[in-house]
Structure formats: C-alpha cells, structure tokens
Amino acid sequence: MTGHAALAAAVALAALAPAARADRPGCTEITLRRAKPMMATIVTVIARGCEGDPLELRVREAFAEMARLAAILSEWDPGSAVSDVNRKAGLEPVRVPDELWEVLQAAQDASAATAGAFDATWAPLGDLWRFDLSPARVPAPEEVDRQRRLVGYRDLVLNPAEHSAFLARRGMRLGLGGLAKGYIAERAANLLVLRGVPDVLVAASGDIAARGRNGDRPWKVAVRDPRRPSGALAVVELRDESISTAGDYERSFTVGGRRYHHVLDPKTGYPASGTRSVTVVAPHGVVADALDTGLLVLGTARGREVVASIPGAAALFVDDAGQLHLSAAAERVFSLVPGAASSGAADFPEERPGAPDEEGRADDQALLPPNPAGPRHALHR
C-alpha cells in the first residue's frame, strides 16, 4: 500500500471506529471531552484512553486539582495564600505553599527575562483600569502615577530558606492572572499522566497544555486572529508542550476615539501599544503564560531577543499593522496560514465611544455582577 493510500485508509477507518492503540493490545480507543466553568473562564479537558478506563473519574480528579490550585493562587479569594501575602505587604513575610512558591519563582524569572515588562505585582494598576463600567473612564494621570509606584517585582522578596514571600511596601499587591492558568493547566495535565492517562489536552481557555498525542496525530491548536474571532493565523502541533496567547482584544473601552485595552505596561501604567497579540509555545505552561504578556508589552524587536534566551520557547507576534513575526526557529513550531496577516483594519471597526468593548458581551449578562477578575494586565494573559 502506498503512503497516500495507507493514510486515506487510516482516515476512513478513523471516521468509522475508534482506533486501537499499538501499545495496548485489544484497546478500543475512546476520547472523553469535558468542560467546566472555572477561573472566570471555561476549562476543557480532553483525555484519550481505552474503553473501560476510568476516564470520567480521572478527569473529575483533574478538575478538582485545578479548583484546589485556583483557590491557592487567586488574589480574588480572601482565603487564598496569595491574599495572605497581599494583606501582609509591608508588614511581614509569609510562608507560602509549594504551588505558590513555584509560581512566584516563575513570575520573577519572567520579570527578569523581560526587564519588568511582565510583573506579578501589577495588581494596584488593575484597580484603576475598569473595563466593566459604562460610561468608561480613563484614570487621571496622577492616579496612574500613584499606583504605578506600587508596582515593582524587585520589591517582591522570595526567601528560599524560609520558603516565604514578602511584598516590601504597604499597598503592593500580587495579581497572578497573567500566569496562573498556564501553570494550573499544566499541573492538571501532569496529574492525568501520573494517574495513567498519558494522552491529554487541558485548555484553560487559551492557555493550553498537551501531553502525548491525539490518537494517530499530535495535539493541534489554532492561533486566533486578534482582529477576527473566527479566523486562525497558524496551527501548532504540541509535543508535551504548552501554548498561551496574550491579546489586546479581550477587554477594552474607547474614550475620545482612543481604545484602551487590558494589557497594561507596568512601567507606564497605561495599556501597552504596538502589538496586537503574542502567542508563546514553551515546555512549561507557566513560562508560556507569563512570557506572552511580557512580550506583548515589549513588542516584536525586543520580544524576539527575549524568546531567544528561553530554552525551548518560540513565539508568534502580530504587530499593530497586522503583520506576523516569528522568533528565531519558530517556523518549525508555527504552521502559518499562507499569506496570513491579521485582518487589515488598523483597529476594531466598530467602536462605541465611552462604552466597554468587552468582546461579545451579551445582554444576558447585563444584570450579572461584574466579573470578579475585573481588569487586568495579565489576568488573562
């Protein structure tokens, strides 16, 4: 049988019946897909196994583990370890659980790599930029200046001997939305592998971790066009890796003809400019998730230098003109749509002055309380 004929036959068979795994004789392969609202988004787990495997139970355990981790890492939960660090800012160091320690170390590494363009202490700025108000309000320059002074990753002191974290000044606050979902998705994927489910994909919305394969092919993830929700710019085959995207399109408002989005530059206190989106593929989810935000703030030129310094990382940048730029050697990771460029519009075509532009905000939601996650540099990447 020729290669093409074999491929066609395989495709036809796959459409008719579940595949059999070569490493488990007698296996009738099945796929379990489950999705739950968590972490202010929808989290999907796709697990493959053989008929009779306790996949439902394993996936439930993975969701439970994600809920446990989210409870440690959420700055919106007053009982979380992060909230404890925030409450004791300027007062005393707090001994933190291993999970938070890992995330804070990764945050500091990302801050160092991006010269502070990613900063887990950004949260005081988040209070100023509200994307759920109508009419929207641009904070006064003096307010931005005041809050900006409370941001600074160098004043987050991690003590390895004590396993403690300390925010050195009163009023400082951590906000881990910029990297927590990437970390949590990978932890859930690892847990599934440890418990006998080697082929899984965990997607905390756009922050995705993959292990193993999806049957006879790798896991495939499309990268969204930042100006066209239904469009893809590239497809990535993940091999025990994670992918995350930061974009300027998620939450925004327009005042005086200018659009303000949610990815804030910790140094200026204002939304980053010059880049529409950045997608990072890396061996670890926490790295991909933290880097995408930092790179969006840094922009293409400096961003590419940073990516080159991170082992195993690759990035796709979409600049303000909609042009695509890859980091060095990233062409082997991102399979670009031929001729791809983000849709031509210089910016979003329909802007409503003074009203939040949150994507697709549905009127069903109009009477709901604002998303507790609120505005963010990072909280969604």
Partner: protein
C-alpha cells in the same frame, strides 16, 4: 427563538461555519455530575405564571421560557431496576455566551446546593482558513468547502479567554428552578 436567532446572526456576521463542540451528552449527565453510579431520569418542568414570576425575580431578569428539561439523578448501581435515593437534579440550560448560546448542565443536590456545572455544547463561529488551498493540505481528507472543525481537525484555540459570566447566570437559574421544583406538591422524597 432567541438561541436560534443568535446562531444565525453569528453565522452571518462571521461569515464562517459554526462549530459546535459537544462535551456532554444527555445520557452522560447523571454520571458526569453525580458520579459514575448515578442514574438519570429525564423530566420536563412546566412553570406556572406564579413560578415564572418567581424565577424572573430570583435571576433578576425577565424570563419568558416556561418549559425546562432536567434529569432526576438517582443513586444506585447502573443496572438496578428501581432507583433508590434522589441525589438531585440536573437542569439543561442554554445561555448566550460570547456570541452564541452555551448549553450547560447545572447539577443541584437535593439539599438545594450546587453539585457541579459542566458545559454540554460550546458553539463558536470558526473555520475560514481551511478553504485556503495550501493550508488545508495538512488536514488529510479535507475538501475545499469543509470548515476547520474544532474538536476534529484541531483540538483547541489559543486566543481570547472565554468569559464564563454566562455560567454564573446558568447556576443562578438552576438553583432557582430546583427551589421551585422542591416546593411542588408531590416532589420526590429527599
């Protein structure tokens, strides 16, 4: 129908195929939400005028739909002929998400608290690029007109974080419906 109107509007605006990702089938709901041994018994709830008013007040918006599908979840081994104990209810609710309705299964325990919430169907407009000739070459067996299907050709999309605000609304509605159901004369014993 609000849901269908939204689907059509979404398809026209996006100019792309709408891909439905099915996560949970009705036959799987009881097991997925209440544990592998749970048995689901499909039911329909028709609200009276008074109950519809109560539901609208509880969820803080005017609700016009009177008929709801739900399952009673009963304990007991899957092969048991007679169910033993009522574990709770699972309501099947459609709520408009980013642009298209998301179908949720909202599990409410028989004591009136939340058991679990899962997505049954997630819909989104997607899939123009597969029409591009060279790009579709990597998806064996695809025809020119075929959309790129999430859940088949690709497994996920890295991009905007999906808001789960609609889930909060589904939860409130599920809790309110369970309350109404529990107060009815002849409600199953808890």
């Amino acid at each position: 129908m609000r849901g269908w109107a939204a689907i059509l509007a979404g398809a026209v605006l996006a100019g792309a195929a709408s891909a439905d990702q099915v996560f949970l089938r009705e036959s799987e709901i009881a097991g997925a939400l209440f544990g592998d041994q749970a048995i689901g018994v499909p039911k329909t709830l028709d609200l009276s005028d008074v109950e519809l008013g109560e539901l609208s007040r509880t969820v803080q918006r005017k609700v016009e739909v009177r008929r709801y599908s739900y399952l009673e979840a009963w304990s007991g081994p899957a092969d048991a002929k007679s169910p033993k104990r009522l574990l709770g209810y699972a309501f099947l609710l459609d709520v408009v998400g980013q642009s298209l309705p998301i179908s949720f299964a909202v599990g409410v325990k028989s004591d009136g608290t939340i058991q679990d919430v899962q997505v049954m169907i997630y819909r989104e407009p997607y899939g123009e690029e597969i029409r591009e000739r060279r790009f579709r070459a990597q998806f064996a067996g695809k025809k020119l007109q075929d959309p790129l299907v999430v859940g088949k050709d690709i497994d996920a999309i890295s991009g905007a974080t999906i808001s789960s605000a609609s889930a909060a609304y589904a939860v409130r509605k599920g809790l309110a419906l369970a309350q109404i159901l529990g107060r009815r004369p002849g409600a199953p014993p808890r």
